[in-house]
Amino acid sequence: DTAVSQTPKYLVTQMGNDKSIKCEQNLGHDTMYWYKQDSKKFLKIMFSYNNKELIINETVPNRFSPKSPDKAHLNLHINSLELGDSAVYFCASSQETAHEQFFGPGTRLTVL
């Protein structure tokens, strides 16, 4: 009965590769997010997406692209991975008006 799930849990890859992280929520929420948590535990939002609009954080490099095949999924695709992309990436979801966010378990990305 996992509410928000992410795959993979760990991802180790070489610089320059392209990778994707998948996120699924079974809560029926309208809004999904991607966050990046760095080594200092600072949590930074990358994208917010609902069935109306994708809101892009302009500080996120365009190598990062979210893709939502349907309301329950928001995948994160990363092109040309760099060392600085190493972090834990969290997916989350919420109802548009309910405010509370539910987080996935995180994907620890290591770029070598």
Partner: protein
């Protein structure tokens, strides 16, 4: 944009001592605010929201409009309280408003 500030990156207390994790907000009105907790290598989860005025795991948080604060308090710290704590405003439809505080690491010393 709605912003919250957590002035302390690290707070160390002894077991049994009182805990206060600070959070200040910078916008007017009666904001809904949340505290999220992240235990070691686990996902973030909601700890409490001010609108519910409940106590979770012994923690409480009161909105102080005069001081624009929403500090998280617990009278007696337990070792299992060691975690990262994030103060956050609500999602109001735009990412610009979903800005978590920098987080405070609470370390409870046995």
């Amino acid at each position: 944009a709605q912003r919250v500030t957590q002035p302390e990156k690290l707070l160390s207390v002894f077991k049994g001592a009182p805990v206060e994790l600070k959070c200040n907000y910078s916008y007017s009105g009666s904001p809904e605010l949340f505290w999220y907790v992240q235990y070691s290598r686990q996902r973030l989860q909601l700890l409490l929201r001010h609108i519910s005025r409940e106590s979770i795991k012994g923690f409480t948080a009161d909105l102080n409009k005069g001081e624009t604060s929403f500090h998280l308090k617990k009278p007696f710290a337990q070792e299992e309280d060691s975690a990262m704590y994030y103060c956050a405003p609500p999602n109001s439809g735009g990412y610009q408003k979903v800005t978590f505080g920098i987080g405070t690491k609470l370390q409870v010393i046995p």
